[in-house]
Symmetry: C2
Subunit: 400 residues, 2 copies
């Protein structure tokens, strides 16, 4: 299948592009490489030494004999995107092409505006380009479980049947996004649903949980294929960050009480989920929503797991509750359905101690590249602290 992977130079995008290529698809990456620029702007960097896109793609071809195309373009530039559609003639579009960090979107007004305009235009342009140049193609769009927030009822996959005052309807599941970044994903989902209805487009919205892990079957085939691994306060997500902290002997930084519970997924399953969605397209006019996670954990339980595995490895790992930079519930009900991808054949990779140990060992291997100054969560959600101060670390509060 001819597949255009927008944002294919990123964490999930790169691993997915390789997996789709390995599975025999004709993959072209479209990326403007802006994430690498944002890293420089913020003074953060991947734990792993990721290579330039040219070296990545040459290495992939040298290692596997398979070729992945590359178009350096900004998907918010409609003319450039249309040109890419005309060149590739995609049968499927996988769209990772967005600013994907909640803290980044909360730094200040400019980062909020950048996130909203970048993400909204990228999504809108893809939909119009499909309408005008690839109306039969299938869009696989990355959303996030964070769109739902933490409702006190079970989270369904995109839609919920509501009985109200003696009547009934199946409606979009109510969303409670928790950052400007999450707000963009909700708006994207609404755009997808709308354009499937009015233009007959076909789209799958993958509401992904927190991704952890580094390696996939493909990224380990050659050193230059190594994926990025973020541990900083802006891009580093819970489990990945804890493993880096454990490797360094840095206390595990748990935000607030740590009862925040979320869906999680290993990156090896991310790439499989995207492939399953691509290879089983939505019908014309169909808007599907898949909740893409395999397990739910509280942040505190993950930290305890890392403490336990670290101890077994002979490391001294402490746990530290730091002031929560976000405004969110720290103790709440959380349950979500994730049937659709299982029905398509996903066999979940469950989190076990060897996986955590492997992540800690990976972190240790790159120990010299770690800058501990990047770890603190410096972006505050609340209005009490002035915005736009990524240099000031969150106050440390010992609670346990």
């Amino acid at each position: 299948m001819r597949i255009l992977v927008i944002g294919g130079d990123g964490y999930c995008g790169w691993a997915t592009a390789l997996h789709l290529s390995a599975c025999g698809h004709d993959v072209t990456i479209l990326d403007n490489l802006v994430r690498r620029k944002w890293d420089r702007d913020l003074g953060v960097s991947s734990l792993t030494p990721i290579r330039g896109i040219g070296e990545r793609l040459r290495s992939w071809e040298a290692t596997t004999g398979k070729k992945i195309g590359f178009i350096k373009a900004d998907a918010t530039n409609y003319a450039a995107l249309v040109e890419a559609f005309q060149t590739v003639e995609p049968e499927a579009i996988v769209n990772f092409g967005q600013q994907r960090s909640a803290p980044f979107s909360m730094i200040d007004r400019d980062h909020a505006a950048l996130t909203m305009v970048n993400n909204t235009l990228c999504n809108l342009n893809v939909l119009w380009a499909m309408r005008e140049h690839a109306p039969a193609a299938h869009l696989v769009k990355l959303g996030t479980m964070g769109e739902y927030g933490t409702p006190n009822i079970e989270i369904e996959e995109g839609f919920i049947t509501i009985e109200h005052k003696g009547r009934r309807d199946t409606l979009p599941f109510p969303k409670q996004p928790g950052s400007f970044y999450h707000l963009t994903k909700v708006s994207d989902s609404d755009q997808l649903f709308f354009t499937c209805r009015i233009w007959g487009l076909r789209a799958t919205d993958l509401n992904q949980g927190v991704v952890y892990g580094l390696d996939t079957e493909e990224t380990t085939l050659a050193p230059a294929l190594v994926n990025r691994f973020d541990y900083d306060g802006v891009y580093g997500t819970a489990l990945n960050r804890f493993c880096v902290e454990a490797a360094l002997g840095h206390p595990l930084t748990v935000y607030g009480r740590g009862g925040q519970t979320r869906g999680f997924i290993n990156i090896v399953d991310t790439v499989r989920c995207v492939r399953l969605a691509v290879e089983t397209p939505a019908e014309a006019g169909e808007f599907r929503v898949f909740n893409q996670f395999t397990q739910t954990f509280s942040v505190l339980s993950l930290a305890h797991s890392v403490v336990r595995v670290g101890a077994a490895m002979g490391l001294s790992v402490e746990l530290q509750h730091v002031e929560n930079p976000r405004v969110e519930k720290e103790l709440h009900y959380y349950s979500s359905v994730n049937n659709h991808l299982l029905a398509l054949g996903l066999e979940p990779t469950l989190l076990d101690d060897p996986t955590i140990e492997g992540m800690i060992r990976t972190a240790a291997r790159y120990e010299k590249r770690v800058d501990t100054g990047q770890i603190p969560a410096t972006v505050q959600w609340a209005a009490g602290s002035p915005p736009g101060r990524p240099a000031v670390p969150a106050k440390v509060v010992r609670r346990s």
Copy 2:
């Protein structure tokens, strides 16, 4: 109260600014006058000869002795907006400053993108400016009943209590926006709810129905205060357009079967609702949603009313079903709650025959200014017809 009215040169904005000023508030309009430019770009114009903003404001002062301030600025320009906040030090902000036509947003990719970026940035900037420069002020934001779409259950005011699998929560009412314009309003509402939660802002979202009518108590005080009256295919809404058609002897253009049912409100009530919201602010951290309409009608029943009133006036009024340019249900359940504004004291101005007759007479008075070429709905929602052809009229289909 010091009130900043963003978008105060528009249809609802102008009438509201005058009403707030008449009620003794200290009003400043912020507007970039871009709607006047869009009219020129589209080749459409108000039925009524609206004056320039300078003449409008001079006339208001000469007539009433009251002064309304004016700042020519684009609210999507954050620096300019901040400067206005610092100058005005608003206690309330009324935000009408958005591209407000659904057909405009559906013309082509560029108009969709303009609408999304313009509306999203305007709303986002106001919220950040409030956080940084007016954290205690109250935001009154214009939304639309169109955010809800046409669910098969009763529409509540912003939130709904859902029982699901033995659990219960009160969540944002599910939205099904029907155009790129409506999508922006949904995203705005989500932004408001989010920033009230995390920053403690106070906001009221007015989900307004279709507005009809021309005059308010204030706009009739002097000729130069006359409000705009849109009858064209892009900005003209159902009842206003029917009255112009009746005055001209043009068939009333009913889209499709005409069973589309919506909430409606007379502009004299619009200005009162905004005043009620402003004068009874939300609490700090509170996000209120008011459904701002007074009656529900199907489009066909309105057309029949105009036919009846026109006949009594001696006019020969025909009714013509034209192909629906939109993708929407033409027969559906529709019921919505609108208790909050009634509880604040709104006494609804109900639609009666004299009101319709008055609107037809107004249209007749300006008959020479009418360009019937502006009437057809030329913007198609569906993908079958190529986008971006505002010059091609919708096909006429006689169904009744």
